[in-house]
């Protein structure tokens, strides 16, 4: 069994035994090679179902909102990106840090099952192992070694925080910051910005027309943590459920705007979208603009730092009267 998994199980077992936590949230394995899903453990004997592999992509921190209503102390396993989301939940006052024990895991990047399928490697695939930058695909017959880079989620290839930024206990040694092309951080956005208004409009119209209003992007998002989302509040009368271009556009503009300055760039919105809409391109645009106008801000990096929307400086510049400053 792989070292980290072992460590995770021991840690969980111990914490549950000595009553340090009432519940542990981590991941466990399902039947298919890519099925590593969140699991909730209260009984130390079940701790052995916990695992760590290249498919533990889910961020379990958002479950804390629900769990902390029932339990007084909960332990969670968090990857680098997860820990940013965790901090954001603290900034937004949705969870009580003192009731959580964070077990940090440095993450080398998660594997995108889509990419595996596209290579046809899923046929008869038993399991997938990772060693360094190599992925080993194990079927009943053969073992294939391939470079991890070709199979990681796009978001992981851009990852700037493989190591947890907040934790009480570490399950792994820190990984060295992986090489990411910071220039390319906003490549997607710049490509779109380069288009004409009509081209952009057409682009988004086409994207949003795929939207089936399943709300997965919202429900997975660690920055979308309202008790009742305005889109679920019919009394608010701001939007309807009809499948109409205008409704989808409204939904997605507001969704992105509502996480402005709070989006931790975990890329989950795009990952979970069943229609394959690149939703992160909206969030990235806002992050790019906020950084440009009001200085670098990285949501979730430090839970004591406030979001740039909701504060101001007297000499802020603006994007509508190009002179900035704005003073008479």
């Amino acid at each position: 069994m792989d070292k980290i998994t072992q460590k995770i199980r021991e840690t969980a077992k111990l914490a549950l035994e000595n009553g340090e936590v009432e519940k542990i949230i981590g991941w466990t394995k399902g039947d298919t090679f890519d099925d590593s899903h969140p699991v909730f453990i209260t009984d130390e004997d079940k701790a052995d179902s916990l695992i760590w592999d290249s498919f533990c992509v889910n961020n379990v921190s958002k479950y804390l909102i629900k769990e902390l209503k029932q339990s007084n102390k909960v332990g969670v396993f968090l990857k680098g990106c997860d820990s940013l989301g965790f901090n954001q939940l603290i900034v937004d006052n949705r969870i009580d840090r003192t009731k959580v024990v964070v077990y940090g895991i440095s993450c080398p990047g998660m594997i995108d099952p889509e990419k595996v399928k596209n290579e046809g490697l899923n046929k008869g695939l038993k399991s997938v192992k990772r060693s360094g930058d190599e992925i080993i695909f194990i079927t009943s017959e053969v073992e294939k070694k391939l470079s991890s880079k070709d199979f990681e989620f796009d978001k992981c290839l851009k990852c700037r925080h493989p190591n947890p930024v907040v934790y009480d206990q570490l399950m792994t040694d820190a990984l060295e910051e992986r090489e990411v092309d910071l220039e390319a951080r906003f490549k997607d956005v710049e490509d779109l910005e380069a288009l004409s208004n009509d081209e952009r409009s057409a682009y988004w119209k086409n994207q949003f027309s795929k939207c089936i209003r399943c709300n997965a992007c919202r429900n997975i998002c660690p920055a979308c943590s309202c008790v009742k989302c305005i889109f679920d509040n019919t009394k608010a009368e701001v939007s309807g459920k009809a499948k109409a271009d205008t409704e989808e556009q409204f939904y997605h503009i507001i969704r992105a705007y509502h996480v402005a300055g709070r989006c931790v760039e975990c890329g989950e919105c795009s990952r979970v979208c069943p229609a394959g809409i690149p939703l992160h391109k909206l969030n990235s645009k806002i992050i790019k603009d906020l950084n440009g106008l009001y200085g670098e801000h990285e949501a979730g990096l430090d839970s004591s730092v406030e979001a740039p929307i909701g504060m101001f400086k007297l000499d802020d510049c603006d994007s509508f009267s190009k002179q900035g400053g704005g003073k008479k």
Binding site: D92, N93, V227, I230, N233, G310, M311
Partner: protein, 661 residues
């Protein structure tokens, strides 16, 4: 369904000329909820108002839309009328078809359809209007003045005279402030002390005024009518009541090395001291840093010599908590430090002095008994150079961008005084511009030049070199362009004024705002010059910006009038258009609290039933007395849990929809 009445005003021909009234009426009648539509020449007239009243009484109208001039003009009028007829005034909306329509557009072709659109929007909004009842706040009939300079004293006296209690907090041992340090005042040259000290005594002796000298403001909570302040009265070590002010203690005190703050350090004082002879209260204070008793435990001479037995080494800081209805900030100003102005040798040569030090040197009660002598060797000076705008109108980091306003005049005063006492002395004034706006100011300055022959030279002093006993002043005359060298005996620097360093603290305690130079900002630069943005907190004097004495006193009385306006009420009525929280939806993220300029929103808790389990949930709570109804919180609230009464999300959306037709 509502019963809405629409009342369209002609405003004589002002509206009727470019708006087809009858068409507006016709269309209005079709609008949902509208049961009555009526026009009249002057809706604001008594007859017009009666139309509205009768509509409410006879036709049982429950919503009113008046299409007329701007709501900023007559909304209040019409709402009064509605109220008189028994309808909640906030069920009335005004459609602005004059300023925003008939006066803008040339023809009925344009005006009529727009008027209809505006009426439709008003109807749509009115449909959603709710009855609003203003909250009432009790008023504590006492005012707090922060800072006991001339501004604070004047404010206090005016308020006290109106019959209300006033407390003054003064940081130093005596009230009086900067003015008490001055020798003469421009443009009349009358003696500062002679006009100030009587006021100080009035303040001290006034039954309605209580002084907290040697005290500082610790914290303030609450809101207009109901502030609660905690004052920290520092240990004076002398009993205010027992002390007779004889002064023997100071005389006998063996430790006399401390620099006298009052004399700008040009003279020393005892460790137990009275800042100046006319100090109010006339009671000394022990400066514990310099007191031998406090440093070593030995000595205790003052205690022995005090026949009144007023000395009390055991005294401790005491905290006083009191309620106030209004607060006036009058913390005054300071001069900037001149460390960064090395070229003038201020730090290195005793004969280079600030204008405030000069005031002390020429003051009869000053270190030299009014004799103008060089601080270095007490010799009689022959040439005196005044340098203007030292740090004023200075864009560089060491200076201030603004004009300190008083320097031109007091320098003219200084120069004039010299020539008056010592005609043989030469006075030179280097200036960028001479600014003399104000009653008799120009005349005053001209006298300095013409009658007294003060040399005014347009140009800045480049450098001052100590040269033996003398000071070589190098300057350039910016008109002739030639360089000038003067062997001066004394150089007087008109250092820029600045906001008090502790303005930042006061700002935080009162949560009011300051500008980039730390001067407190008024609610409106033209129309609300003495108010702050926080209701019930007012400004007086140089803490709001550089001012001379007459301006300061004027603003002080203005502030007093504002305070009296608050204190004279038994109850304050607050604007009912305030924010309200839907606690069921509130997530307790408290984004709203970060936006609110008035700290009107704070976290509270509610117990909710979460599937059978009772849990405590954090929610935002709005203090309606503090909320001013800007609505910033409603936009910060992502799920829309906070809404603004009178301008609710639904109302505005309804207006948008109505307009977009």
């Amino acid at each position: 369904m509502q019963r809405i009445g629409v009342f369209v005003c002609w405003c004589g021909s002002n509206i009727a000329a470019t708006v087809g009234i009858e068409k507006v009426i016709k269309e209005a009648k079709k609008m949902p909820g509208v049961v009555y539509a009526k026009d009249y020449q002057y809706m604001c007239s008594e007859v017009g108002q009666n139309l509205i009243k009768n509509g409410i009484k006879d036709l049982l109208l429950d919503r009113i839309v008046v299409a007329s001039c701007s709501p900023r003009m007559h909304e209040a009028t019409f709402r009064k009328a509605a109220k008189a007829a028994g309808l909640n005034p906030y069920l009335l909306e005004v459609a602005n078809i004059r300023e925003h329509c008939s006066w803008i557009h040339k023809s009925k072709e344009e005006g009529t359809p727009k008027a209809i659109a505006l009426v439709r929007a008003a109807v749509a909004k009115a449909t959603l209007n709710k009855e609003l009842i203003p909250g009432q706040i009790d008023v504590t009939h006492r005012a707090l003045i922060i800072g006991g300079g001339i501004a604070g004293i004047q404010t206090a006296i005016d308020i006290a005279e109106a019959g209300y209690e006033v407390d003054i907090i003064e940081k130093t041992p005596s009230i009086g402030g900067k003015m008490s340090q001055l020798d003469k005042t421009f443009p009349t040259l009358d003696c500062s002390a002679c006009i100030l000290t009587p006021k100080m005594v009035d303040a001290a002796s006034h039954p309605n005024i209580h002084l907290y000298t040697y005290s500082e403001l610790e914290s303030v909570t609450g809101y207009v009518g109901n502030f609660e302040a905690v004052i920290n009265q520092k240990a004076r070590s002398v009993d205010l009541d027992k002390c007779t002010g004889c002064g023997v203690c100071s005389e006998k005190c063996p430790s006399k090395k401390a620099k006298s703050e009052f004399n700008e350090g040009l003279r020393t004082r005892a460790a137990i001291y009275m800042p100046f002879a006319q100090a109010v209260p006339n009671v000394p204070v022990i400066d514990r840093e310099n007191c031998i008793k406090f440093k070593t435990g030995k000595c205790g001479i003052c205690e022995k010599v005090c026949t009144a037995g007023a000395i009390d080494y055991t005294q401790e800081d005491t905290k006083i908590t009191k309620k106030y209805g209004a607060i006036v900030v009058s913390t005054g100003y300071d001069l900037i430090g001149l460390e960064k102005f090395g070229e003038y040798q201020y730090a290195d040569h005793p004969d280079v002095i600030t204008s405030l030090e000069f005031e002390r040197l020429t003051n009869a009660a000053g270190p030299t008994g009014g004799q103008l002598l060089c601080p270095s060797d007490k010799r009689k000076p022959k040439k005196i150079v005044f340098v203007q705008c030292v740090g004023s109108r200075d864009k560089s980091v060491r200076g201030k961008t603004y004009c300190s306003k008083i320097c031109c005049m007091y320098t003219a005063k200084h120069a004039m005084l010299i020539k008056d006492h010592y005609p043989e002395m030469e006075a030179y004034v280097f200036y960028i511009d001479v600014r003399t706006p104000g009653k008799n100011f120009e005349e005053f300055q001209r006298r300095a030049v013409e009658e007294y022959g003060v040399h005014y030279i347009k140009g800045m002093v480049g450098k001052v070199f100590p040269d033996g006993k003398k000071l070589q002043v190098h300057a350039v005359d910016s008109i002739t362009g030639e360089t000038i060298e003067i062997d001066a005996d004394i150089v007087v620097l008109a250092a820029a004024t600045k906001a008090k360093d502790d303005a930042a603290t006061i700002k935080r305690i009162l949560s009011i705002s300051t500008d980039n130079d730390n001067f407190f900002t008024e609610a409106h630069p033209k129309l609300r010059p003495v108010e702050t943005h926080s209701a019930g907190i007012f400004l007086a004097g140089a803490c709001q910006g550089p001012k001379d004495i007459p301006e300061t006193v004027a603003q002080a009385s203005a502030a007093a009038a504002k305070v009296i306006g608050v204190l004279s009420k038994d109850k304050l009525v607050n604007n009912p258009c305030v924010s309200e929280v839907d606690e069921a939806i509130c997530s307790g993220c408290l984004a709203c609290t970060k936006i609110c300029p008035y700290d009107a929103i704070s976290p509270g808790t509610v117990e909710v039933n979460e599937n059978g389990k009772k849990i405590i949930k954090i929610v935002a709570k709005v203090n309606e007395a503090l909320c001013q109804g800007c609505g910033g919180c409603t936009v910060a609230c992502r799920p829309g849990a906070i809404d603004l009464k009178g301008f609710s999300n639904k109302q505005i959306l309804a207006e948008v929809d109505a307009i977009c037709r």
